[in-house]
Symmetry: C2
Subunit: 159 residues, 2 copies
DNA sequence: ACCGATTTGCTTGACAACATGAAACATCGA
DNA sequence: TCGATGTTTCATGTTGTCAAGCAAATCGGT
């Protein structure tokens, strides 16, 4: 089985597979870190978003790449735990802005700090190698590797 | 907000963020590719596993990093569509081996072929750079970067 | 400027997939 | 026989979709 060679060279194939492994590990550890704070992965991602700025529901949906109706539920759960609140948008009474509460910001910050796990696998690389890896990843991702416009591209290099 | 600088250098931090971007894009496109074949992400991952070899349920759970009781449902759904079948293990009558059917193997192969999206972002890199990236990722992931034994560790192109 | 029609933003409801944990059951191994 | 192991079932919760609904904004024609 798995006998037919794919129409791509083995090198590319291996890189793809390696990236797959990175993805699996990253995702897994992200979820574990979130769980340590009694959050699911989706809740942690949402809270991290709101740590930077408050956002209307539809914008959250766009960034998380899911339906707005889904965001309602996630915000509901976070709101019921006092980590997030809904505020009216003075400019448009239809929209509701989700914002992290004080407690939400604290949780988000603790979460981010505990996220240093991600740097641990990089410990084996020398700074020069890390720079190399950074450049290769940058070129791989192309220009706008983030999906949303960061408020200020200069600060908060971590997401 | 996000005032405390993380106890890691900016370079590492940026690499972490880049990896995060890779993870997001990879996941998203993986799910889309799966959806094109009427599969969910979890089903696609399971089917890809079984494309290499048939496995007992508990082993699938270990590789997918979830509970065995969860695997039951995913295999159920794939089985009801004729992509997977359960076979008894002659050596141990407790275990059930999940195996891809003929149709399952075909789907897995089509899926893998349509997965070339993942190689597309690599197109901008020269072969030498790809090799470099491969080596860096390998070292980053440590020895056993897959979670299962690779079919033939020897068939990786030598440097 | 007014009023109806359409669009937009969010929520609700029904439903499916995924995930966990506890409990049940058969089977293995000591 | 007894404990451990492999699988399933059940209850429950989160995430995701889609369709329908409501409120508010916007547009077009008079």
């Amino acid at each position: 089985m798995a006998s037919r060679p794919a129409p791509v060279d083995p090198l590319t194939l291996e890189v793809v597979e390696l990236i797959g492994s990175v993805v699996v590990r990253f995702h897994q550890e992200y979820d574990e870190a979130a769980a340590r704070h009694s959050l699911t992965g989706a809740q942690a991602r949402l809270l991290a978003l709101l740590h930077h700025q408050c956002l209307p529901m539809r914008e959250i949906a766009r960034r998380l790449k899911c339906e707005p109706s889904n965001v309602t539920g996630i915000v509901d759960r976070l709101e019921s735990r006092g980590l997030v609140e809904r505020r009216p948008d003075p400019a448009d009474r239809r929209v509701k802005l989700a914002a992290a509460t004080e407690s939400g910001h604290e949780t988000a910050e603790r979460l981010r700090a505990s996220m240093d796990f991600a740097s641990e696998p990089l410990a084996d690389l020398t700074p020069a190698e890390r720079a190399l890896l950074r450049d290769l990843l940058r070129r791989m991702l192309g220009d706008g590797y983030g999906d949303g416009p960061p408020a200020t591209p200069s600060d908060t290099p971590a997401d």
